[in-house]
Assembly symmetry: C2
Homo-oligomer: 360 residues x 2
DNA sequence: GAACCCCATACAATCGATTGCAAGAGCTTC
DNA sequence: GAAGCTCTTGCAATCGATTGTATGGGGTTC
């Protein structure tokens, strides 16, 4: 391995001179012919600066850590990809740690990333309150940005959870639905909480009072939890004509429950999701859902983090707009009168496709 | 930030003694009461060893780099997740770089990871021959393991591409199909090449000669490429009763082409995929495909890499078995006689569900 | 021609931990 | 009681790059 001292020796200068010659910001201190000679020697020898030594000396590593609950998660993976794109083009490397849902492990990972000299952290795992990972960041004074999660006093990039949910509910209301049930996400996650708020706001905006009996709060964003919640709602409230789900996986679970209960979507019951994750445009019926700009969230979060590392500014929050994507899982409710004609089945709406992913 | 020297000072010993007291492998050199005192002081002060300094001195970083073409890719994300799991429980951190399809960028990333002192590399991007990233690994003498890609003289973990493809074709043959077309993957990827070989092998095993006219080689594993290839095959060869695709995304493209051509799946034409990526059990009709143990591939690759770092053994190849998952996109071909009765439509097979992912 | 200044370069300390070697203390053994 | 041994601890070099300070040479100015 060729080190700076080798380059310096080969160029007949002191290592400090070689260092300055190779560093654009310090180059003005070195005479031009010497700069040229050093550069030539460096490239001839294939010199690559040792990033570890550089980190040790300067205290900066050009390394960003990311904490995600599930690398393969269809929501967080594109966020990570967006962030990686921005970071690598700024010369930063990305270290990924996946603590799953374990808050303790998350804090442990923060310590480890700190020990490795990470310049900043992207946190996609923060709970709403008392997040140990967040506390660890504050304690070690590491710049951090939250993604897809909000929390007080820390920069964050989120989508408009409240507004997105309201969009979905407004769509259902406009179709004529009045008894709309909510399958909510975990209340300790900001997405769960805010989407519930958006649900209630949209109802109130139409002068309707939210009925607590029509809300099921799930413990996790999983298909199974969605199925259980939907099954309970369907069993207890036969007058419900629409299920508004805080997340696509919950909606898929709702599909399962409806199928099992013999309810057709959207003829008998409408279903909406949230996130527009890959492939939901291809399921039967294609899911009406709220599209979130995942890649953009990752990019903005990375940008925000680099800003904070560079200029050290205060906390700022970015809220990205979400958009309703109407596909085939929503339709007008059937007339309530018994024996009424069933809704027309023809010409099911397929809706816009999602942008695709290449695969291996 | 509390350093080793602070711990040593507080414990009244020399830093070297503190170092030995805190290192299990060197602890035998230090008297027990001193060990206890140093440990107590270290934990009281919240001492965390500086991994950067440690790397610089020892030359080992406990850091593994991973190169993937698309972090959000439904194939590579679970591989990454599996690898991350094994690595982090072995005390290693994971650095991810995403060069996309750019071979030059991949080599550049290898250099960068080397400069950061990565102890080993996981390569999911290697082309079949003359991969610059691979060459860079060899040049810098960094242990590397290929995942989901094979290449001569380098350890690799792949699924049984040949056998998996043969499984799918055998299934079609057994259903009675004889004119089976292949939508092949890129020939410079080992998956593309081996799956094509598996396709031909399965035909020959039945005494059938592969017809080159029934093979379309795509330039990339994308839905669009699949659609184009399928459209061409359908237009030119009306006697084809089944499309065997080298990858699920290609199969989704084939769905698009069939839909556009007015062909029903599986009544008019059968389609098979490869990979069993998330959600393909939910599309209409549910896709018959070959399941690959992605997570296991990542875990095994990580394990293999750690072995090579530890004991420095030679190259070894792991081939994991794939399994056919029969769902609703395959059925017996219609009798060729014109005017024959269409295949029964009832009781469409839904097939086994995929294991789910939690979502955010 | 002496004083001064500036430019270019070298010197040496530093970041934090590890580790080969030296040295002191305490013990045994003859 | 001296030599030798073991056990424990300290010393100092080292990994590779950066950077504040010192120093030398060359030019300018009066």
């Amino acid at each position: 391995m060729v080190a700076l001292r080798d380059v310096a020796a080969a160029a007949g200068v002191h290592p400090s001179t070689a260092s300055r010659a190779l560093n654009p910001a310090m180059r003005y201190l070195v005479a031009d012919p010497v700069v040229a000679r050093v550069q030539e020697v460096a490239s001839r020898l294939g010199y690559r600066p040792n990033a570890v030594a550089m980190s040790l000396r300067t205290g900066r590593s050009r390394l960003i850590g990311a904490l995600v609950p599930g690398i393969a998660n269809p929501v967080f993976a594109p966020i990570l990809a967006g962030a990686a794109e921005v970071l690598s083009s700024a010369g930063y490397a990305l270290m990924v740690a996946d603590p799953g849902d374990d808050n303790g492990r998350a804090a442990e990972f923060v310590e480890q990333l700190a020990a490795r000299g990470a310049d900043g952290l992207l946190l996609a795992t923060a709970s709403l309150r008392d997040d140990p990972a967040l506390a660890a960041c504050r304690a070690r004074n590491i710049p951090a940005v939250l993604v897809n999660r909000g929390s007080e006093g820390m920069s964050s990039v989120v989508s408009d959870d409240r507004g997105g949910m309201a969009l979905a509910v407004a769509h259902l209301l406009q179709l004529g639905h009045r008894r709309i049930a909510l399958i909510a996400g975990p209340a300790q996650l900001s997405t769960g909480l805010r989407r519930s708020e958006g649900f209630e706001e949209a109802l109130r905006a139409q002068g309707l009072a939210p009925d607590p009996a029509l809300q099921e709060i799930t413990a996790a964003y999983t298909r199974e939890a969605g199925e259980r919640a939907a099954a309970r709602l369907i069993a207890r409230h036969s007058d419900v004509t629409a299920l508004s789900c805080a997340n696509d996986l919950l909606a898929l679970g709702a599909y399962d429950a409806c199928r099992r209960a013999g309810l057709r979507i959207p003829e008998d019951i409408s279903v909406t999701g949230h996130n527009d994750m890959p492939m939901v445009d291809l399921i039967e019926p294609p899911l009406t859902t709220v599209r979130i700009p995942h890649g953009e969230m990752g990019r903005q979060a990375a940008g925000l983090l680099l800003d904070r590392i560079g200029h050290g500014g205060g906390a700022s929050d970015v809220v990205l707009p979400s958009a309703l994507v109407v596909r085939g899982s929503t339709a007008a409710p059937r007339p309530t009168a018994p024996g009424a004609a069933p809704a027309a089945r023809s010409a099911r709406r397929r809706g816009p496709a999602r942008p695709g992913h290449p695969e291996g």
